[in-house]
Amino acid sequence: MAPSFDFASSLLCTEDSAVFDESHNNGGTMMSMMGVYEDTWSPRKRHFDEEPDELPLLSDESLAMMVEKECQHWPGLRCLNKLQTGDLDFGARMEAVDWILKVRSHFGYCSRSSLVIQNYLDRFLCAYELPKGRVWTMQLLAVACLSLAAKLDETEVPLSLDLQVGESKFLFEAKTIQRMELLVLSTLKWRMQAITPFTFLDYFLCKINDDQSPLRSSIMRSIQLISSTARGIDFLEFKPSEIAAAVAMYVMGETQTVDTGKATSFLIQHVEKERLLKCVKMIQELSCNSGSAKDSSASVTCLPQSPIGVLDALCFSYKSDDTNAGSSVNSSHNSPVAKRRKLNKTCGADLL
């Protein structure tokens, strides 16, 4: 009993790095992944056997509501366009995303958290223009988004200072973060229950697996792929439901356990066929580029193979230049005054 429980807990805490033998995928564990009612392991299978029509997570109508609502939370094409045209600082966003991933990993937050944080970041950047040339503002924004996501979804929220790990260039006081939190909240109209691909993933995996619980390895693989889509900007053009459907289809196809045509005919009831197929193709390319499928660090460092990827490389080259290092020092020197003045003005503007 106790060893079994510890094993299960251990699995739950290591979702991104776990490598599973087939023998570890017992029915109970699989059910615990899928089941809403997770008080025990073994009865889960019986539950499914007894009530095959009842889905553990989203019902069909809940899914429809989520698809309807996801556009409220989707930065989408507008954000992608801004990044591509240079209106948004692509490199600064990438740096913020990298920092978010490191911090998330440090605190052991699940993959969904990083998607939620990035959702906040991208929606904010589309709606609000941060002052140009103030590199610390992107860092502060990332800290605020991380703090908000942790409060909303995690069971334990680190203190503001502890949150700022991972070689941050700047260190912000709690009250400064609070002001940025309030700015993010009002800019996003307090719509913080972000809908991400994870909202839909379980439903799609179950449906294209003939309403049976998929293998735990398929779930972990799906989580990994969805997390990989978040770092670059190529997948910003797709809605969360489209990404979830494409990942589910790719992963289940990869294991040769389902009929691809049948899966497609089900999924296109919920997402457009052309966009689904395009997204699957991009997932495939992403998967190939990341080399070892189960090496999460490789996935994290994967660069998108596209013109934007070239731009990305240029940004990195620029950052390694000595001149930039000098600029960085200057920015650090100036940041306290600039930080204080700018935020006061911003908060004042909000209150008027």
């Binding site: 809403v36 909303l152 979804d153 503001s160 709690a174 609070q178």
Partner: protein, 337 residues
């Protein structure tokens, strides 16, 4: 949500009276100066030496922003920032105003004496109405008529939350607001609510109110879900009938013992896996009692629905949506609900 940046919270509203106080601040009845509309202002002070926006406020607002369409969830109209006398940042949540809550409503009936079963009232009414005190008679007739309606609205509101992947986790009479004129019921206070469309997730024991807490939570399960809200609904159902709390424990152990004395001490036969839960111990062995001993005036259909809400095994407990379809509600006129 239109942002009216012109007026600060203080300028836009006239506070009329304080109607409540919670962990993070006070609740006022107030009038919006521009429209004359009565609202409820929930004030949350942000301490700059603390960690920013409180998680409970963040969850409540973001969840209410998601659930704003349902008539059985309280409507959040606006969020405004302001400053108090000391210059500290204050948040005002602007809600539609509801004049009472289910706790006060139940208490108002408790003072009018013992319950008379609805079917007895009907018989007496048909035979000899003048025997009884008129006020006493109509109070109980009134309540028996509205019991179904209130319970249906509660199930409908909970089904709406669950359909959006939201657990409330603190359902209790105090958090169920009512309009006495229309007898509309609305779910409120979602500060402990939480989204559950998250893979591989543990939840903590953040639920506060003991009397409405599900046994799997009391026994230490961290992977719980919609069923915990339905347990609370069952406790509220019984309390609406008897006007007394069904399981009024004053500690976690006493809460469990209250439950076990009525429903029997659970074992692996009635609740597979129960003995593996973290807080499981050896408990006194009680046999299950009939629910009618605890809720004597509820009819057979109501007792059946209640028993399905109070199943030990969470996966066997009735869902809010299925509860709405239960035959107990068949003769209820649902057109306006």
């Amino acid at each position: 949500m239109e942002k009216t940046g012109v007026l600060s919270a203080k300028e836009a509203f006239e506070k009329l009276e304080k109607v409540g106080e919670g962990t993070y601040g006070k609740v006022y009845r107030a009038r919006e100066k521009a429209t004359g509309k009565i609202v409820a202002l929930k004030k949350t002070r942000l301490h700059e030496d603390e960690e920013g926006v409180p998680p409970t406020t963040l969850r409540e607002v973001s969840i209410l922003r998601m659930l704003s369409r349902d008539p059985h969830v309280v409507r959040l109209m606006d969020v405004k920032q302001g400053q108090n006398k000391e210059g500290k940042t204050v948040l005002y949540l602007v809600f539609e105003y509801m004049d009472t809550d289910l706790k006060k409503f139940i208490r108002s009936f408790r003072q009018s004496g013992e319950t008379i079963p609805p079917h007895i009232i009907k018989v007496i009414l048909s035979i000899c109405p003048s025997i009884f005190n008129i006020r006493f008679f109509f109070v109980h007739l009134f309540l028996s008529i509205w019991l179904q309606s209130l319970m249906y609205q509660l199930c409908k509101g909970v089904a709406f939350c669950h359909g959006h992947g939201i657990l409330h986790r603190d359902l209790k009479p105090h958090n169920l607001l009512m309009d006495r004129k229309t007898m509309m019921l609305k779910i409120a206070d979602l500060g402990l609510a939480r989204a559950f469309t998250v893979p591989i997730k543990k939840y903590t024991h953040e639920i506060l109110t003991l009397w409405y807490r599900a046994p799997e939570v009391l026994l230490g399960a961290t992977h719980y879900s919609m069923a915990v809200d339905m347990w609370s609904v069952g406790c509220i159902f019984a309390e609406l009938v008897t006007k007394q709390a069904l399981f009024p424990g004053d500690s976690e152990l006493q809460q469990l013992l209250h439950i076990f004395r009525l429903l029997g001490t659970p074992n692996e036969d009635v609740w597979p896996g129960v003995s593996k839960l973290m807080n499981w111990h050896e408990y006194p062995q009680w046999n299950p009692q009939s629910l009618s001993t605890a809720v004597p005036s509820l009819d057979e259909l109501g007792l059946d629905l209640l028993s399905q809400m109070l199943k030990y095994e969470p996966s066997k407990r009735i869902s809010a949506k299925k509860a709405m379809e239960h035959v107990y509600f068949d003769d209820l006129d649902k057109r306006h609900l």
